[in-house]
């Protein structure tokens, strides 16, 4: 059984690599390279896989899942400038790809337990762009 919980947070970021020129960053990241930053209303969908507990009828306690998402993602990232305030984005470009991978890293251990595992992290940067990450190794 798959269970998906949604959370929202708003944050600003700059997508630019310090080793590249302004012109190169602009070509690579477009408007997102504006050095002063810009923001998004991010939407996070976290999917957990597990068996339904025969007693409680639940795969995962939604209240606990909400607390985990709040503690690991929403509280540290909501209304923050990701590059300046949320490591590792002081040294990792906060693209939606890197954000999805970081959120996976933060959620995997609090969620995984016998019979339950984190299955997918989907991060919407806008309603027109999202990234899915299932924990696979990226080379």
């Amino acid at each position: 059984m798959l269970l998906t919980r949604k959370a929202e947070f708003s944050a600003s970021h700059v997508c630019a690599s310090p080793s590249l020129s302004d012109q190169e960053n602009r070509a690579l990241y477009g408007l997102a390279a504006n050095p002063n930053g810009h923001g998004h209303n991010y939407v996070l969908e976290v999917t957990v896989e597990g068996e339904t507990d025969p007693v409680t009828g639940m795969v995962f306690d939604l209240r606990e899942l909400k607390e985990i998402l709040n503690r690991e993602v929403v509280e540290p990232m909501d209304h923050r400038f990701l590059n300046r305030e949320v490591p590792p984005f002081d040294r990792v470009v906060p693209t939606t790809e890197n954000l999805a991978a970081e959120i996976w890293k933060r959620l995997e251990s609090p969620i995984n337990r016998p019979g339950v595992k984190l299955r997918n992290v989907r991060v919407y940067e806008t309603s027109d762009l999202y990234v899915d990450y299932g924990g696979e190794t990226c080379v």
Binding site: A27, V92, E97, A101, D128, Y130, D132
Partner: protein
């Protein structure tokens, strides 16, 4: 890791099989057989699969937009699919055939290390077609 980006375009069409009688076409396609045609605001979701490169991206957004908007959807944007689009010549411009045509043009123009995973196109919010690439 997969990245999905959404695009929009508008086009007109008429669904009609030339070999069928007027009555057969009417029965098969209903309102979509209106001889004067009609149009839709299509929504296209393009999904890529790959690993982020040094820039932290599976694909550069400006580069993807240039390909999809500038080299693919420009062929379909504000066109009559029965008349104006060579890629649709000889086929009934259903959204199934449109999805295949768009997938083929994207595949032809593709120049990224990431893999084109799928295209998903909605004709209206109620009719959605998805095709693995």
């Amino acid at each position: 890791m997969r990245l999905t980006r959404r695009y929009r375009f508008s086009a007109s069409h008429r669904l009609d099989v030339p070999g069928f009688s007027k009555e057969e076409n009417q029965r098969l396609f209903g309102k979509c057989n209106n001889p004067h045609g009609h149009g839709h605001d299509y929504v296209l979701d393009v999904t890529l699969e790959g690993s982020p490169d040094k820039s932290g991206q599976i694909v550069s957004r400006p580069a993807l937009d240039e390909l999809i908007s500038g080299r693919v959807l420009n062929r379909f944007e504000h066109k009559n699919l029965n008349i104006d689009v060579p890629e649709m010549a000889g086929v009934v411009p259903t959204t199934e055939n449109l999805a295949s045509a768009i997938r083929d043009v994207i595949a032809r123009e593709w120049s990224f290390p990431a893999r084109l995973d799928r295209v998903r196109i909605s004709e209206t919010a109620r009719n959605i077609f998805e095709l693995e690439a």
